[in-house]
Every structure is written in C-alpha cells, then in structure tokens.
C-alpha cells in the first residue's frame, strides 16, 4: 500500500450556513499525482483550502505526513503544501516581483538564473522577467502562478484548474512539467481538473467528489469503469 501524504478522517466543513465538505474520509498517496474531479460546487477547491490551512474543519481530522494539521505552524504548513489557485492572482509589479514573492515574504531575494530557469520550466521566456505581470494573458498568468508556487519547493503541490485557460500546446507543456517535477523531486501532486481525459492521462490516482462528498477513489482507471451510478452519469457528461 502507498504511504499517505494527506489523510482525511471524517472531515466536515461548513461556511455561511452551507455544509460544503461532508464526512470525507480518504487519503492522497505520497509522491503520486492524484486528480480530483467532480461537478462544479462539489467542494474541490474548499478541500484544497483545508489541506493548505486556509480553512479549518468543523469536525474530523486532517493528517499531513502523519501529523495532525493543527500541530503545524500555519506558515510552515503553507510553504510545505503549496497551492496554485485557479484565479492566478498577481500582485502589482513585474513578473520578477511576482515570482520572487514567496521569498520576499521571507525577506530573501531570488537568484536571476534560478528565476529564468523556473520561467523556462513553465514555458515562459526569460525576458518576461521585466514585464508587467498585469499585462500577461490569462494563460501566461497561470504559468507564472505555477512557477511562483514552485519557489517554496513544496512537498505537496495542490493545483486548482491550472490548465483550464491554456491552449492545447501549453496544456501539454504544463502536464509534462508536472510529471517531471513529480518524478524528479517525488512531490505529491493533487490536481483539480474538469478534463476527464487529462485526469485519466496524468493521474496515478483519482478522487471523484460530488456535492461535498467523496463518491469514489482509487487508481485513475476508476473513471473508465465507475461503480457508483452518479459517477457513471458524471463520466458520461450527464452531470455538469
């Protein structure tokens, strides 16, 4: 059996009167890529914020590398469990200032060669460094957001719809990059995607969530042969 990087035990979370995460029990295997799929409003992004400590569960327990999440210092936790959000928010300033942000927060600076290498890895040219981050296209911002998350060298990387605004070529580049990082550093990856082909292609494992519940989980092949009736409908595209 694979070791678990993250374990959920009967986790519940509510906000503004809505029960968003319902009794989730499951695990994300260490060093593997797990894809997280499900219709909109299934609670996938909220699950990420629970893993990164941006929210705390109302009940149940989350273990990160075997330790209860609330025993971690929140800052240390967020550096170890990186998250690239779908919004790919940029701060005012250059690409370099955005890329350097995780280090600026620690009063450090980034080495120029390392910055260029990171940009190259996500498919952006080194001369982008001086450009205004606000002027980048949606896809370029998304790539920069991934590079920025990598600066902290996280053990676990949470990727929220990171290729949804990219063209096919860029999507392929990012998929290759994620596989490369996963193989090279053994980084645990959890990837929310709407693209079931991508989930099958990239994921060693898959979680299917619906309406705040974990419906099925296991090797990604479960998407080809789902057991649950609702998952069958979702895979056929009958549930959006």
């Amino acid at each position: 059996m694979n070791q678990a990087a993250i374990i959920f035990q009967d986790v519940n979370y509510s906000a503004e009167g809505l029960h968003i995460i319902k009794n989730i029990t499951g695990f994300f295997p260490e060093g593997k890529i797990t894809t997280l799929v499900g219709p909109s409003g299934a609670g996938k992004s909220t699950l990420f914020k629970l893993c990164n400590g941006l929210h705390s569960p109302d009940s149940g327990e989350i273990l990160i590398k075997g330790k209860p999440i609330d025993t971690y210092n929140p800052i240390e936790l967020r550096r170890r469990v990186g998250i690239a959000l779908q919004s790919a928010t940029m701060i005012k300033g250059s690409v370099l200032e955005n890329l350097e942000l995780p280090l600026t927060l620690q009063e450090k600076t980034i080495d120029k060669e390392y910055a260029e290498e990171l940009l190259h890895d996500v498919g952006l040219a080194g001369d982008f460094l001086k450009r205004n981050a606000m002027d980048l296209s949606g896809g370029q911002k998304q790539k920069l957001s991934i590079a920025r998350t990598l600066v902290n060298k996280p053990d676990i990387l949470l990727l929220d719809e990171i290729t949804s605004s990219l063209d096919r070529v860029s999507q392929h580049d990012i998929e290759e990059l994620i596989e490369k990082i996963n193989k090279k550093y053994g980084t645990t990856m959890i990837w929310i995607t709407h693209n079931l082909e991508q989930a099958l292609r990239i994921g060693h494992f898959t979680w299917v969530m619906m309406n705040g519940e974990l419906i099925e989980s296991g090797e990604s092949s479960i998407l080809e042969n789902p057991q649950d009736e609702r998952v069958k409908q979702f895979v056929k595209g009958e549930i959006e």
């Binding site: 990164n52 400590g53 941006l54 929210h55 705390s56 609330d70 929140p74 800052i75 240390e76 967020r78 550096r79 990186g82 998250i83 959000l85 919004s87 928010t89 701060i91 005012k92 942000l101 995780p102 927060l105 620690q106 920025r148 998350t149 902290n152």
Partner: protein
C-alpha cells in the same frame, strides 16, 4: 453681538428657504431642522462652557472631554461596524490622541492649563480624529473587500497576516491622511481657517491669531497620521484568527 443683531442673521436662513420653496427643491424642512438644532446645540454648549470655565474644575474638564470622545466614537463606529470590536478600538484611539496632544501642549507649556484652552483644542483634535477615523474605515473596508484574492494569495505562499494586509493598510492610511496634508499646502491662500477668522473678528491681533492657527494645524497633522495608523494596526488583526486564516468582514 446683541440678541437682536443675532436674530438678524436669520436672513441667511430665510434666503435658502425662499429659494427652495420657489424652485421646489424640498429643502425647507431640513433647513429649518438644521437651524433649530444648531441654535439649541450651540447655545447649550455656550452655557455649559461658561459654567465649566467659571468652575475651573478638573472633573468638569474631564467630563466634557469624555463626552466629546463618546459622541465621536458613537458617530464613527457606524462606518466601521463590519470590523469586530470597532467601538473600543475607536474609543482607545481617541483617548490616546487626546492624551498625547494634551501632554505635549501642557507638558511643554505651549498653552496654559485652563479650560478655555483645553476644551476647545480637545474639541478640534477629537473632531478631526473622528473625521479621519471615518475616512480611514471607509477606505480600509473597501480595500479589504475588493482585494481578498491578494490577501489569500499571500497567505497561501506562507505570508503572515500583516504581510497579507500590508498593501490595503498602507493605501488606506495614505488616502485618509492626504486631504489633511494637501489642505495645509494651500491654507491662507485659498481660505482663512475658521478659528483664525473667528479670533480676528473678535478683535485679536492677526499675527497672534496666525500663531494659534499654526499650532492647531500642526496638532491636526499629528492627529490625522496617528489616528489612521493606530486604527489600522488595531483593526487588521481582527481580520484573521489564531491559525492565520482570513476571516471575512462582518456583514
């Protein structure tokens, strides 16, 4: 000025009422209410001040200042009620500003320790602090609301709450204090300040009136900057919990 002369000034109230009635602006009722309220409030304050000045008792001075701080807190808190515990934060800020400014003024013997000086200066300091507090809270809550994504981004990258709210805090402090600084640049050129004009009309030496006005201007500069900074640093921690999670503003 006699009461007869004073009653003649009501002509300045009649002009807007007649204009409003002629042009159907519908401002007559509000103008009348404002006039009656200002007459009652100012006369009441005048008599209270006369009594306090004659009594020359520290307890009365403290009560007057406390009343001003209470009214200022009550007025400003409505603008910041989305921030948890804003009432005591405003109260502490106003008390601090009052203690700071009066300590400097009285400690260095800049003004004599009499109610004639302490009460009007306190009124100007607390009033100005209240306006600054309202300006700051308006801007700060709007900044926090509109830049939630940025706050969240910095937290996800391992930043502290202070780092996550830094830009919003600095922008709000700057934007609330800029009007005070800017208005000082043109003072005397565009308009003569109310207090200085009042002193000149009452027969004071214009140079002495200017000296007092400068004292007030510098005092208000400190008031503006300290109010915004203090309110900012008291307010931002309530936007986060112990786990450094961002809590939404109270709706």
């Amino acid at each position: 000025m006699t009461y007869l002369t004073l009653s003649l000034t009501l002509i300045f109230v009649l002009i807007p009422i007649i204009l409003s009635r002629t042009l159907k602006l519908g401002l007559e009722k509000d103008t009348l209410i404002a006039t009656v309220r200002s007459i009652i409030q100012l006369l009441a304050v005048g008599y209270v001040l006369q009594y306090v000045f004659e009594a020359d008792n520290i307890i009365f001075i403290l009560l007057m200042v406390l009343l001003m701080i209470g009214a200022a807190t009550q007025n400003a808190r409505r603008k910041g009620d989305s921030i948890r515990g804003i009432t005591w934060k405003l109260f502490v800020t106003f008390v601090f500003i009052e203690v700071l400014t009066q300590s400097i003024l009285l400690g260095f013997n800049i003004v004599p320790p009499t109610p004639q000086y302490i009460i009007p200066i306190s009124g100007m300091v607390i009033g100005n602090s209240m306006v600054l507090g309202i300006l700051f809270l308006n801007r700060f809550t709007a900044e926090v609301e509109s830049r939630q994504d940025e706050t969240e981004l910095i937290l996800t990258l391992g930043g502290t709450p202070r780092q996550a709210i830094h830009t919003q805090l600095i922008t709000s402090i700057k934007s609330s204090t800029i009007p005070t600084i800017e208005s000082q640049k043109t003072i005397g050129l565009v308009q003569l300040p109310g207090m200085m004009s009042g002193q000149i009309i009452a027969g004071a030496d214009p140079v002495q009136a200017v000296q007092f006005q400068l004292l007030i201007l510098f005092l208000l500069l400190t008031t503006a900057v300290v109010t915004s900074i203090m309110l900012g640093f008291l307010s931002y921690p309530t936007l986060f919990n112990k786990r450094m999670q961002f809590l939404k503003l109270k709706s």
